[in-house]
Structure formats: C-alpha cells, structure tokens
Symmetry: C2
C-alpha cells in the first residue's frame, strides 16, 4: 500500500521494480543518495501500489495509455504524448474515460480549487476576502506585477509580509517574460513570485481565521493543511490523507489520487447540490471569483485564463504541473481531469481541448478563438511555423469513436473497469 | 513515401490519420490554417510513411516503445518517458536495441557533428579554423558570453557580422541564467545567442571557402546545405535528402531518419577507418576539438559538456532538441542514438546514462560524478529534494536483461527486426 502522508515524507534510496506491459523490470542502478540529507535503504523495495494486490506489491504499473497528442515537424510526427482523461458528473457517472483512470496521479495545482474551500467557509462574510483574493487563492499565477502586487497588499492587510510565506523563493516567475522583466529591474524573485503564493497567502489568512499560529502552515499536521486535505477528501469521498504522498513544489503535501477522484471533485464544485450548505455556498462563491478574474488564475495568454475568458466562464479550467489539467462545467454539472503520462504542459492543454471538443462543449467561434491554445503552432527562432501540436482521438476497442453516453460506470463499485 | 526536402517545406493543413496499437485513429479536428501564410489542403491525407508500405500509407505508426525513464515524487512514480535507443559499430552491428529503431526521427542537433565535416574538409589547414571554432560549429551552445563573444569574433574575422546569421533572433539563450543576465544588462538576444549560432557561423565560413554567396546558406538548395546533407548521407549510407523533411528551429532543413542510421553515423565518426582519407581526417580533427573544448559544445553543467569532462573525452556526447541524444565511443568504435517519444530533454539525458551503464562504459567514479546528470533530483522552490529521475531497464521478450552481445542484427538487411 502507499505510505500515508507524514509531515515531511522522507525520500529513501530504493531500487525501482516496475511492471511494464506485464513484464517485471528490475532497476539496475542504485539511485544516488546524499548521506547528509536522508536515510539510506538502498535495498528497500519500491512499495507503492494503490491496489495493494500482493501480485504487484513492490511494483509500479506503467499504464499503456493511449496517445492523446501528436507534435509534427513539417508533415511528420516528431513527438507523441500518452495520457488518461475522465469526465464525471457529481454522482460519479462517467461521460468519458480514456486510459487508466484508476492509477493514482499527483494532480498538483489542479487540486487548488478544492483546497480553497476551507478559507471561504471560515470567512463567509469577511470584507477583506474579495473575489480577486479568492481567485488568487485558487491560482497558479505566472508572476506578473498584477499578481505579485496584489499578494503583497493582501499580506500587508493581514499584518504579515513575504517572509511569512513558506513556499520557497528559488523559482523565477513561471512566465519567462515576467522573469526577464524582474532581471531587467535588477531584482531576484521573492516568495510572492512563486506561482503558489496566492494559495499560500490564503493559507496564512485561514490560519488567522482559525486562530492558530501561521508558522509551519505548509506541514501536513498543521490545521490549515488538515482542513485542505479534509475538503479534498470530502469532495472525492475518500481519505486523501491515506494516499501515497510527496511534497509539492511549494512544500505542502502532495497526494497521488485516482484520476477519476480528481474529476469527481471538480464535478462536485461544478454541481455542489449534494454538498453541505456552507460548502455548497463556498463552491459557488469560488466559481464566481474564478469567472470574474480569470487573469489571476494563471495570466494573460495562458490556457486556464484564455479558456475562461473565451467561454465567458462556462468552462472553468485549473491546470497542474507535470501535465495535469482539470475543469468544471457548471451548466452541465461535469468535472474533467486528465494527466499526460510524461508531464508535458503543452500536451495537457491540447488534450484538454480534445476532451472539450469530444464533449461537444466548444462552439465553432470558441474553437477558432482557442486554436492557439488547443492546436498551437510550433514556431522557430525566425518566427516561421515549423509544425503543430494536434489532438489524437483514442478509439474504443471496437474501433469506433468513444461514445460518451456509452460509458456509464460507477467509480464506487470496486469492480468497475474502463469499458 | 515521405516528401523529399524542398527549399522550404510548405506546412499544409491536413487531417492526421494514425495507427495506434494497430488501430486506425482518425483525427477529428482540422488544424487551424492561416490563409495568409500557407497553402490550405485540409483533406490531404497525412502522407509520411518511411516504409512506403501501402498498408500504412497515409498513416503514422505510434510505436509501443518501452518506458526508459521514470520520475518520482516522494516514493511514487509521477511521470514516465518512453523511447528507443540503439548502439552500433561502424559496420552496422548492433550492440543494443530498445524499441522501434527503424521509425524515422528528427535527430535535430544530434546531427551537428556529422554536418560539421564539410567545413573541416574544405579547410584542412586554415589557421583561422581553430579547435575552439570547430567545437562551436558542432555545438548547441547555451548562450553564455564565452560562446557569444567567440562567435562574434569569428564573424568579424570573416568580415561578416551577426546580421549575416540566418538562424533567427527570437530565442533567448538556452540557459535561463544566461537569458536573465542578458535582460539584467538591458539587452535582447541577437542571432549569436541562438544555440545554433556556432554551427551557422561555420556554415558562413564554408560558403566563403567554397567561393559561393553566403546569403541563403540555410536553404536546402544552397551548396552549404547540400554539402552537409551529403556528409550525413555518406556516413549513414542512405540518401538523407530524400527523407521526410521539416524545418529546424534555426531554419535549416531537418530530416527524419531511422534511429539506427543516426547511431551508425556516430559510429563512423567514432571509428572513421572505413571513410575516405579526407573525411577520416576531418572526423578525427572534429573529435579532438570536441574533447579539447567540451564547455563550448553546450555549456558548464550541461549534460554533453559534463560527460565529456568527466570521462576525459572517452565518451563524446551531442544532444538534440526534443529528446534526442547521440554519442561516440571512439575506444570501442561505437555510436549511440536515442530518442524519447515525448521529446523530454531531461529524460533523454537519463536514458543516455542508462545506455552507457548497460554497455558497461561508466566506471564507479564516473557514475558517481555524473549522478546529478544521469539520475538527477527533483527539487522544489525551497531547495528540498521532492523526487528523482530514474532510468528503467527494458527487458527482452524472455524477461531477462537485454544481453548486448545477443543482438547482432544487420541494419542493411531489409528483413531485420528487433529481437
């Protein structure tokens, strides 16, 4: 079984043993271990099987997921990206299933909208918790001044400063131009430039609202992280804290959860009718803030922001690092989650377009307006188009297009399998 | 069949039809086409099959390549990367074959050492063609001042300037810190910052040596590109100019060639005993220059440079964009080529380490010294190790480790298949 989430998961040395296409693959090389920084157990089996199946204990299954995205150069495919995707309603009924959606994935920042609920529930009426700040609390901002300045102002309002943020300050802004602008001004990044700084500022505000010390708010045992994990668990109907755990880029716990659970969480934000009243109100307030301020969720020109702007909030997008994307479709009561096996960001965006297209969610005008996001060009250093990134439709076993209505599965049934 | 290489391959609109795991996958979306910039033939079949097999004409095969690299977070696999790798000697005898090594791949800058031969052959004794400049001509430099200043001085020696470079100037230096240093100085990149600028400066010098106009040297019909393509073809024993073609990031023709051909070309640079005398001398001079100036081939801390430094030139590495890596092992007379299906740079470096390890090429000291390259840590914004990147050994069909000596295949035999 996966390891439950400790305060700071120790990274042990180990030998990977994997199952690839039903073949056992021993790992020959022992990973380098720094004797100064971590415990060393080089012969410990890599014990992370979500199934707990004794036949696969000590192994990791590499799924044979379908190719969802192809990248061309000229008229030849240069790269391909595999992945899994799932669309569910709030009852757990699947509308689309591609690939292995049971294997645990780190959904990363795609979980931020779920993790944002405790702050909204703790402060249902506080005038300082404006829609802009709610949006930033659910955001992975790209580090432009309009993001950083708002975060610093929020910290000042709380009587805190950037020094109270525990997300780390070694990362330059996500947007290369924002990073260069900072360098051009002779500056180096502070914690407020970290793409999670808005979320962390909200975490500090939650600590204040709960009347607990802010210090250490990133650790799993802190009431702030307990509240965030509980909200994720509630939306997904599982115990997220018991899932295989790692550290996020910003230092908070990162849990590996089945992809269908991520989609279910998004579906329950999209259609919170089954949630407790306070949580339901928080979900609706959160969505309204994201729709009102899409430019704060990522930044101008970036996928999340563009989709929310072009669809006028009909589709709410939150991506995560390493090839994750999630979305809410409130009018249809659906949640979307996908993960690219190799972690490619651009492929995740194109695959998200493919899912939305397959669901029939994009109008012709929206498809055209979002072509640069969902089927982007590959340009070279002279600005010439050298290739394109294309979605690839996976087919079901019968060779026909996936019929969204044909997949009616119950994720609560332990025996369910992708059809 | 693939399209032969025109001066500037037109990028047509088309519908992709792919074969994935023996299933035909129609592409539902028509790619966006700019009516201003390119011809539009939206219903043209995607015609790029190197095999010419009528059963697959109009299709692209997505290979079921093995997983070569896994990325962990905590103790759980977060990402995986598939790919193919092959090691040959100069006679074409295979020492290692993983995955589909017949499928054409764009090896990108991994071809630069082969493309460098014409300049060395044209100028066997010219005092201005120093080892440093030869190294830069085979390099993908990261844009530090030591690279850019040398390129500008070389251009000035020729009576030319950065304006004569046709590689484009829209790309910031490859190394993020070099890009920020440029921004900090209030500058924007010039063509000399492009990672191919050293190669292009050598192309200009070759045009001068050939007594032809330098202008247009990036185009397929120009004597410079004809010479580069002919050298590649000679080393590989095929007609590279007839291969499926695209544009490089720097504007020169990019051809998709079987991975085994890339390895064979590297093997013949490593062991040029079968080449014509002038070409043999050029190969040896090229290798000597790369070994003497590894820091000019990429830059301090980067894979190519590090491996050549640590192995004191016993292993010569040249990576290419989009997950390519190639290497020469002169003492063993071997050439290495690998390509990660999804184009990931870090995975290509780790897979290269796996190949070298499998060949028994790394001493314990070298393995330890190169651990940060071949099994790098994933660190977060606070500098904490959150995961690692691991090689994964693919097994043969019998479930045993690949025995390098067991794979003796003749790539010239059209019927050969991976065992």
């Amino acid at each position: 079984m996966g390891r439950a989430c400790p305060d700071r998961p120790a990274l042990r040395g180990f030998r990977i043993v994997v199952v690839h296409r039903r073949r056992i693959i021993p790992m020959t090389s022992t990973p380098p271990v720094d004797p100064e920084t971590g415990p060393h157990a080089p012969d410990t089996a890599f014990d992370d099987t979500a199934s707990g199946d004794p036949e696969t204990a000590g192994t990791v299954a590499f799924p044979d997921n379908p190719v969802l995205v192809a990248v061309t150069r000229g008229e030849t495919v240069e790269n391909q990206h595999r992945g899994a995707a799932v669309v569910l309603d709030a009852e757990g009924t699947a509308r689309l299933v591609w690939g292995d959606v049971e294997r645990p994935v780190f959904a990363r920042s795609a979980l931020k909208p779920m993790q944002a609920l405790p702050l909204l529930e703790a402060l249902p009426d506080a005038p300082d918790l404006t829609p802009e700040r709610i949006a930033l609390h659910a955001a992975s901002h790209i580090g432009r001044p309009e993001h950083v300045d708002r975060i610093r102002a929020w910290l000042a309002d709380m009587g805190l400063s950037e020094a109270d943020l525990e997300c780390g300050d070694l990362d330059w802004p996500t947007e290369a131009e924002a990073a260069r602008a900072l360098a051009r001004a002779g500056q180096t990044p502070g914690a407020a430039h970290h793409n999670c700084a808005g979320q962390h500022t909200g975490f500090l505000r939650l600590a204040q609202a709960l009347g607990v010390p802010t210090r250490g708010y990133i650790h799993a045992h802190h009431p702030v992280q307990r509240a965030a994990m509980a909200a994720v668990s509630d939306l997904m109907g599982l115990d997220a804290a018991a899932a295989p755990c790692g550290l996020e880029g910003c230092g908070i716990p990162s849990v590996a959860l089945p992809l269908w659970a991520v989609a279910l969480g998004m579906a329950r934000l999209a259609d919170p009718s089954g949630l407790a009243p306070a949580r339901r109100a928080a979900a609706e307030r959160l969505r309204a803030a994201m729709v009102a301020h899409p430019e704060l969720i990522a930044g101008p020109g970036w996928c999340d922001t563009r989709v929310m702007q072009v669809t006028r909030g009909r589709i709410l997008v939150k991506r995560g690092a390493e090839g994750n994307a999630a979305a809410m479709l409130p009018e249809r009561g659906l949640g979307v989650a996908l993960k690219i096996d190799d972690g490619d960001r651009r492929a995740a965006e194109v695959a998200l377009g493919l899912v939305l297209e397959t669901l029939g969610e994009l109008s012709a005008e929206e498809r055209a307006a979002l072509a640069d996001v969902f089927q982007p060009a590959v340009t070279n250093a002279a600005g010439i188009v050298a290739g394109r990134v294309f979605p690839v439709v996976p087919l079901d076993e019968d060779g026909g297009d996936d019929d969204p209505e044909a997949d009616r599965i119950d994720p609560w049934d332990e025996d369910w399998e992708e059809e």
